[in-house]
Symmetry: C2
Subunit: 731 residues, 2 copies
């Protein structure tokens, strides 16, 4: 613990150090020579397309078709086997049937091939014996050190070095002679679906975005999404990464890369599918992947500031914003429009996305009003009117805003449908955009014409066409300014006594046992006494006092209330005795087989705001912390937030700030502000315990925690710890 | 009351009966002849564009340019004045300066012109003296009966009769020789922004949608958005209406049209802007503070099943779905895809939009599996794989699904980017679509090529390109099947005594007064006694019994708790006396000027689920009902829903079903189901009271209402009625 990456990254067991794969991948993505196994002159087939796409897009290295049935293909010598090439081959593209893959891979390895892309399907995605075939691929990769992308992949495209090792029809530079490029900052795409990988590229390029690499990772028999992510985070030519994932197969590398992206402030935009049950089924059959628990992914994304997109246009818009605009200093936006209606709609959308739309100062309004017709508006939205387009007032207004101190973001709203011109002097606009430290974004409420795309791109402007997605993109852009580098978090040391206690217990602990463990780790819990029979009641009361709570303790009854095992607000000895007898006899009827430790007597906690604090150990990512509104609100309003454990107090406060119940904690209707510090301390402590003892602890839940007024702390009303079901081997 | 339209429509005062404007508008939108005042040969100007656009789009009637500076324009005789034309003119387009408009309008009226479209700006949108100018326009319309669209409008386009009375560059049929038309069912657009009106048309047409009329209503000096809506609802050529509005100026006509649309099941899709600038009201009740202008519109939209869109692409997608697909029988969707990733993403999106994605039956799966490669999937999503496109399995699968009994909606996911072909035999696809009673929708995860747009349109298919928006569109399409015709709702008669009581009171009533009124209208409230001094305590207790609640009653203190004016769970006479003295003396300090009626003693209500029921009278739409989660949840989680009052019990139950707190009412963690019937009755009753007495009642709020277990009713814990601040004139 106390590790640099907050114990999170190192906490996950797994693969080789990431730096190895990082340097290694350069040779895969920019190979000096490529052999195509299964190459064909028939371009209606995938096997034939590979050669065609590679050449059409100007691959500068040597290409060796391999196919025993041809002597030459498309003017190139064709070889019967990869071993017959007789020259060094860096990368092999395997477009041969699945059954032939293992022997072909071995032949490649023997011939000195360093990388392979397996296009063929028919592996783990089918299940059954085909999964074994994939295991053989993995073994060959490990044995010979040949690094493999796939199987069941559409390959990759390296836009920087003109390597199009794919059959995707979306990679089609031959036709679009002059691509539209609005920005030099590049997006890398890594996707567990070839269709999505290249469709994101296809959509992004149509809008003038730049790309570095597009990688379809397929079944990930060797190289995984995390390896490519890691490579792109370390790659200077990649300025943002777009991920499409169904699962993470290598959490260690993934978390390391995510941490590095956070440190470098390189944006990652992630789309995670498999959320719905139908979606999860698709994930199973498509890449033979188990879809992880959604909340664990949410925790990972939130912890590392990964931006989540739910729609392709939204993903592209966010990627476009972060690669074409500077990170603004704040969240104050101004809308400049030629259409009042479109301006109002844009302003509403930005406000709904959490941006501020301050009214401009009198002075600035006066200056702008002198440029525009009397029926325009200079408040915010600034409506220059369609008339003012012809006078140059549009650009003058944008320039005024770009140099004022009143806003951080300028959203320009115009119709760019005309096929002859755009409403700006684009050379002058280019100068304004280039010299501005503010984010200036352009939304066309009509569909932009090709000439508008082209001339705006020359000015360095991406034209956004989706209103919802530009709203989201501006929101995320504004948040980039607030992304903070993660600080190391150290877990408090675990006392030896506590460690031993955890090694000697198994399964579901009772509240009494759970609270004892919490107390041992420095969490304040009310003094409670376990009463095993009625004769012990009086002595316990002498220690506890009235009013008190009585709660049955059984490892078989974690939900005590539902079996009538809880009595609250007991005010005197007579009531206590009746309550005791009633609870015990009720249990004898309701849960006759439950093991009974006794009842716990505890002073009644003072009133407070109900919060739930829980940690669950995720199979992939380790302990995941959940904090939220307690009581019925937890399920009803789903007002909960997730982070990877551990968090420190600052992290806990950030997490609380994201909850709607924060308003209640801050005090509504004259109520006092709640004890945020005590709650944050408790959350940090619990998350630290879960990490420090993750070899034994599966779940911790405090529910509810009652948070009292500032300075008064909080009360852990109920607690539940679930340990591994069996004792550790050495115990 | 007891009126056919539930008292809602007739409840709003206002304009002329709608049928008049309905028939009247046909002559405006399809005039036999048009005069253009201000016509010019210069097509760089708006004045010049009008003539050009009208002719280019094939207007079949007579056109009369009017401009004293020209003898002929563009081959047509030009007239110095409208009176000089000497032939009947049905419509005049006025593209002359604002100041000249009134006299020109009068000249038009004298010349027998029936309709005018005022393009000029410089009226009420500028405020000040220009508002007076607009009033003159309104007066002229009323005096001469000439019906006016505008001023400050971009005009209109009638696609059926080729009347393009606009200068919008989006109406540009000259160039796109062969428009893409995927459906014959037409969309009408009515917008308070010309830019938005024609951009919706521009975006929709690019996707193959059909339009009837596009109307920009401008400042609405005479004809309003509601008039055009009403016309289009009654128009057989219009199958759905897209509205863009900032306000409704004629609520009577609007509500009548909305009711008729509901009766006819003609979809209305509305975009309401101006949310961010909603003005604050003087708010006494929570209902009032939470019910901004926005909520009144929400109430209207919900009441009449109007679909709300927040993004242009979403609006177009919904319009495209409802005009190109039949209304499905249910919400069971099946995704058919060529890309596993795109299929999973689509399935997730549909599930998030509330659609069901049932796994297909074994039999159906077996049949589909026989058509596709082994690495495909036949569950749902059905992944036929890219390979199966070439075998015809794609269409075969769609056809199988379109005739099975297992799903209601088929979402086909494919890449349609290729510029040479689409993945279907479109003639055969057209037959499947035509014969299917199910909704079959097509999503391309790449940007569709022009050939794909064209050939899919020939098959009768719109290609959707936005994933979030197709999800929303499918959701709304599925909901169309559940839209039910509104039944007449009658308010219970108001007893004369109650009516008199309301006529004799003003302003904020105390809880005691409010509850007395509720009781008089048949709402069950606990028997409470107003105690005016300490000597009356004992007698009150004899009637009420213990435990009881003590609540201060003052018209100046509607928020009693916040001034320490409430004591609960008083169990004996001694405590009561102390509580009384404390409350009275606390008030003397905290609110020394408050008028004090006394304290209300009331039996403690049994525990229950907290609900808030409120009604606020909206200036435009009359009484608006709000129901939601009570207590802190009201503001924290905003779990509230709105309807126009009155609602009947069925309406109240529907409203409750839309709340998240419904789950709690249904009983969680073994709790009993709450008394839905009693709550629904209470809601209906309160909404009916607000409507019946809307001349006096501004606000009613019951907060909280505690809902008990089924059969146990509910308790109105606190109540607040706010009346008009002054007595009615006759009183």
């Amino acid at each position: 613990m106390g590790h640099h990456h907050g114990g999170r990254v190192s906490a996950v067991r797994g693969a080789a150090p990431s730096s190895a794969s990082r340097s290694a991948l350069h040779g895969l993505l920019a190979p000096a020579s490529i052999a195509i196994l299964g190459a064909s002159p028939d371009a209606t087939k995938i096997r034939g397309l590979l050669l065609q796409v590679l050449r059409k897009n100007g691959y500068p290295g040597r290409i060796y078709p391999v196919n025993p049935n041809h002597a030459r293909i498309d003017g190139l010598d064709c070889y019967p086997r990869v071993g017959a090439i007789g020259e060094p081959v860096e990368l092999a593209l395997l477009a041969i049937p699945a059954a032939e893959i293992p022997s072909a891979l071995e032949a490649c390895a023997h011939a000195g091939v360093r990388y392979a892309v397996i296009i063929a399907s028919g592996f783990a995605e089918e299940g059954g014996p085909q999964s074994k075939l994939q295991q053989r691929v993995t073994e060959i990769a490990r044995r010979f050190g040949i690094r493999i992308c796939g199987p069941n992949t559409e390959g990759f495209h390296n836009e920087i070095a003109n390597v199009s090792a794919t059959f995707s029809p979306a990679i089609d530079h031959g036709r679009a002679a002059e691509p539209i490029i609005a920005t030099s900052r590049r997006i890398g795409v890594v996707a567990q679906s070839g269709g999505i990988a290249f469709s994101l590229y296809h959509r992004g390029r149509a809008q003038g975005l730049s790309f570095s690499y597009v990688v379809s990772t397929g079944n990930e028999a060797d190289l995984t999404l995390a390896d490519f992510l890691d490579y792109m985070i370390g790659d200077d030519a990649t300025d943002a990464v777009l991920l499409f994932l169904e699962t993470v197969r290598d959490p260690q590398t993934f978390l390391t890369a995510a941490q590095r992206a956070l440190d470098q402030r390189k944006p990652i935009i992630a789309v995670k599918v498999g959320r719905s049950s139908a979606g999860a089924r698709a994930a199973l059959s498509h890449t033979a992947s188990m879809t992880g628990w959604d909340a664990a992914y949410e925790a990972v994304f939130k912890t590392f500031g990964i931006i989540v997109a739910s729609d392709p246009d939204e993903a592209i818009a966010i990627a476009g914003a972060v690669t074409s605009a500077p990170v603004p200093a704040g969240a104050r936006a101004c809308v400049v429009t030629v259409s009042g209606g479109a301006g109002a709609w844009t302003a509403d959308t930005l406000a709904a996305c959490g941006l501020e739309l301050p009214e401009l100062s009198r002075g600035l309004q006066q200056t702008i009003r002198s440029l525009i017709p009397s029926y325009g508006s200079a408040r915010n939205p600034v409506d220059i009117t369609a008339q003012a387009v012809h006078t140059g007032a549009f650009l003058q207004t944008i320039e005024l805003l770009s140099t004022c101190e009143e806003v951080d973001i300028i959203v320009v709203v115009a119709s760019m449908a005309r096929e002859t011109r755009v409403p700006f002097d684009t050379a002058a606009l280019g100068r304004v955009i280039k010299s501005s430290r503010k984010a200036i974004l352009f939304y066309s409420y009509t569909l932009p014409s090709p000439i508008a795309r082209k001339s705006m791109a020359e000015a360095g402007a991406v034209i956004f066409t989706g209103l919802a997605s530009i709203g989201r993109a501006v929101h995320e852009l504004a948040r980039r300014g607030r992304v903070t580098q993660a600080l190391p978090i150290s877990s408090a040391a675990v006392p030896t006594k506590l460690r031993n206690r955890l090694r000697e217990a198994t399964g579901t602990l009772t509240e009494h046992q759970s609270k004892a463990i919490l107390a041992q780790y420095g969490v304040r819990v009310a003094p409670g006494i376990l009463v095993r029979n009625r004769d012990e009641l009086d002595e316990a009361v002498r220690a506890i006092g009235f009013p008190l709570a009585l709660k049955v303790q059984s490892p078989d009854l974690p939900h005590k209330t539902e079996v009538g095992g809880v009595r609250l607000n007991i005010a005197d000895a007579a009531t206590l005795r009746v309550a005791y007898e009633e609870v015990i006899s009720a249990l004898a009827v309701r849960a006759p087989c439950a093991r009974l430790d006794g009842v716990r007597l505890e002073p009644m906690a003072p009133a407070g705001i109900e919060i739930i604090v829980g940690v669950i150990r995720d199979e992939l990512f380790g302990p995941v912390l959940m904090v939220g509104a307690g009581g019925v609100a937890t399920e009803l309003f789903r007002d909960v937030a997730y982070r990877l454990a551990p968090v420190d107090r600052r992290g806990a406060l950030e997490l609380l700030a994201s909850l709607r119940i924060k308003a209640l904690l801050e005090g509504v209707r004259g109520a006092k502000r709640a004890d945020f510090q005590a709650l944050a301390h408790l959350i940090a402590r619990i998350s630290s315990l879960a990490v420090a003892c993750r070899d034994r602890v599966r779940e911790i839940e405090l529910n509810p925690v009652l948070v009292h007024a500032a300075g008064k702390g909080c009360s852990v009303v109920d607690a539940l710890i679930v340990l591994e079901p069996t004792l550790p081997p050495e115990a």
